[in-house]
């Protein structure tokens, strides 16, 4: 439940980190923006799954209680250093790469990158070949293994096509935060900072410039928009 304190916190977070403005209807996304998240794993509790739950609710991901085939757009990965035993819990979702492997391999062009760097699947031309899932190093995609119910109007899911985190593109276009980041700020410690990496005045860009951040599997050179601190 969201209480008053949380609501205030949430609105505060929005004031700090919200995108500059909503995109005008009918205006295309431009490369002027590069949306990303900076995730401070130090603030991310091992048991906390608030972002995961928020994502499920936002995207209407009602599971069928079949973990092997149910969709997950964001998950908490527990990482442990075998040498020291030190561990972290890291939220992992589509990394919205600048050079996405899924977009390269998709035969029909259903996997695509919007001008502002958000990687999406056009479910109207996805043939369900799952090559993008073979190619994604982050295992960020799910295949709709069965009929879907409880769909949200902004996310028409369909059996037989591939899906994944959209960075809540429908919210971003309205000038709102992705559901995970908003929920984390409201109900947890605000470990996720959302913003425009291309805007030098944005907090995310300034922190990325100032502080040491890493990207998962940076060695592959896909240039993800998700940055992590503390791993």
């Amino acid at each position: 439940m969201i209480n008053r304190r949380h609501l205030l916190l949430a609105s505060g977070a929005i004031l700090i980190a919200a995108p500059a403005a909503a995109r005008e209807a009918g205006k295309p996304a431009t490369a002027a923006q590069r949306w990303g998240l900076l995730i401070d794993t130090g603030k991310c509790g091992a048991e906390c799954t608030i972002c995961v739950e928020a994502c499920k609710a936002e995207m209407g991901l009602a599971g069928h209680d079949r973990p092997r085939t149910d969709a997950q757009y964001i998950r908490k990965v527990n990482v442990k250093d075998p040498a020291t035993g030190a561990g972290h819990s890291v939220p992992v979702m589509c990394q919205h790469c600048a050079k996405p492997a899924c977009v390269d391999v998709c035969p029909t062009g259903a996997s695509m990158k919007r001008a502002d760097g958000i990687v999406l699947v056009d479910r109207h031309i996805c043939i369900g070949c799952r090559y993008c899932m073979m190619a994604c190093p982050y295992k960020a995609r799910s295949f709709a293994h069965e009929e879907q119910t409880g769909q949200q109007p902004h996310l028409p899911r369909g059996k037989g096509t591939v899906e994944g985190c959209t960075l809540c593109v429908h919210r971003i276009d309205e000038g709102r935060l992705p559901a995970c980041a908003e929920a984390c700020a409201a109900k947890a410690k605000g470990a996720m900072l959302f913003g425009d990496l291309n805007d030098p005045k944005s907090e995310i860009a300034q922190r990325v410039a100032r502080e040491a951040t890493t990207r998962i599997r940076a060695d592959l050179g896909l240039e993800p928009a998700m940055r992590y601190q503390g791993i």
Partner: protein
């Protein structure tokens, strides 16, 4: 030799012909039923998951597609490399190439999440995708081989014979390279991600294609009571041995390359030592039954008539080939993606541990359906057109492999 070869059609509606077609038709009907079920219920009824996204249908499809390009080799040896003694086999070789490709593609398409969108796949092309290139390569292969076959059968088109043969030969090499690259270009998957996948796939195609060719040739000759000389069988068997050796060589090269890469030792010890079923299929199926044993049969002692030995070796190569494709496709996915190298990972999405996969009956039926489709096309082809030589040399029942 080819100018003196007579080709005859296979007589339809005989008892054997009807039985064969009925049996194959039944397999296809069951496969279509399975497809209907899988598409209606969704892929959760298969053994495939969000971790192992390509399953047994892909094993069959890739095997058939790879074998298709290899099946054309016999024709190429005759026309591109001018080996006269292979020329009478060219027509069957071309037909088989088309039939196997059609069977493989059928499985691939029917396993799509949205097979009804095949038209989308044919009209939307992302030219960066090796998959999209393969769509073009596969359809082109059918067309090129069809023309090639025509030039073999129609004497008035003789002047196009050599160019068509060259085009088909070049095309098949590119096609198999493309199939290998489907895996070779996946940088994130530790089991692949090496350029050696392309030549490995070419070696695989040579072996599988010839094995299937030998089987179809021997069985169809036997069923239609055509004489098949020991000389032909011996020659094909020796060639099969060569291709099997090449496949083993590139397999070894792949694993040596992998062991050489720092950080790939995990996946290597998984495939080679600790992978359970995958390890067994690798050593017993792929290397033992599909590699060493056919080599022994091809070059070793001679207990049986060459035709029998060729059949035995070919069956083993086919089984070993299915095991090999399984190890590549399923084994490669069973090994988890390494998001945080050097760290231990776990999650609700099966990060950090080996993924299990057991094919469902539905997938198995679909895979076998692809084989049946290839055989139906082959049977119809040899029935409708004069593709099978009336006979090839003299048969002896005893061991006469040396000459």
């Amino acid at each position: 030799m080819s100018s003196t070869t007579t080709y005859t059609q296979v007589r339809p509606y005989t008892r054997g012909w009807l039985a064969l077609m009925a049996a194959l038709g039944a397999v296809i009907a069951v496969a279509l039923g399975a497809v209907f079920h899988m598409e209606h219920q969704g892929h959760w009824v298969t053994g495939m998951t969000n971790q192992v996204v390509w399953g047994l249908p892909h094993v069959f499809a890739v095997f058939l597609i790879v074998a298709a390009s290899g099946a054309l080799n016999v024709a190429s040896i005759g026309s591109v490399f001018g080996r006269q003694e292979y020329q009478p086999l060219g027509r069957l070789s071309s037909l088989l190439a088309v039939a196997l490709l059609a069977g493989g593609l059928a499985v691939l398409v029917l396993d799509l999440g949205r097979p009804d969108r095949l038209f989308v796949a044919m009209t939307h092309f992302n030219f960066k995708s090796i998959f999209a290139w393969n769509v073009i390569l596969y359809s082109g292969f059918m067309a090129v081989v069809a023309v090639y076959l025509w030039t073999m059968m129609d004497w008035t088109r003789k002047r196009f014979y050599k160019p068509a043969a060259l085009a088909a030969f070049g095309w098949r090499l590119i096609l198999t390279t493309g199939t290998g690259c489907i895996f070779g270009f996946l940088a994130a998957r530790e089991a692949y991600g090496a350029a050696v996948m392309a030549p490995l796939f070419i070696a695989m195609s040579f072996a599988y294609g010839l094995a299937v060719f030998i089987l179809v040739l021997s069985v169809s000759f036997k069923m239609t009571r055509r004489p098949l000389g020991d000389e032909v069988s011996t020659r094909l068997l020796r060639l099969l041995g060569l291709f099997v050796a090449a496949n083993l060589y590139f397999t070894a090269l792949l694993h040596v390359t992998q062991l050489y890469f720092a950080g790939r030792s995990g996946v290597e010890s998984f495939i080679l030592l600790q992978g359970g079923l995958h390890t067994t299929l690798f050593w017993v199926g792929q290397v033992g039954l599909g590699g060493i044993l056919p080599l022994v049969i091809a070059y070793g002692g001679c207990g049986h008539a060459p035709r029998k030995r060729a059949m035995m070796a070919s069956i083993l190569v086919v089984l070993g080939g299915l095991a090999q494709v399984w190890v590549i496709i399923i084994g490669g996915q069973a090994w988890p993606l390494d998001l945080f190298p050097g760290m231990e990972a776990s999650s609700t999405f099966a990060d950090g541990h080996v993924h299990d996969y057991a094919p469902s009956a539905w997938e198995t039926m679909l895979g076998l359906g692809g084989v049946a489709i290839a055989l139906v096309i082959t049977t119809l082809g040899v029935t409708a057109l004069r593709l099978l030589p009336a006979g090839l040399g003299e048969t002896t029942s005893s061991c006469a492999g040396h000459k």
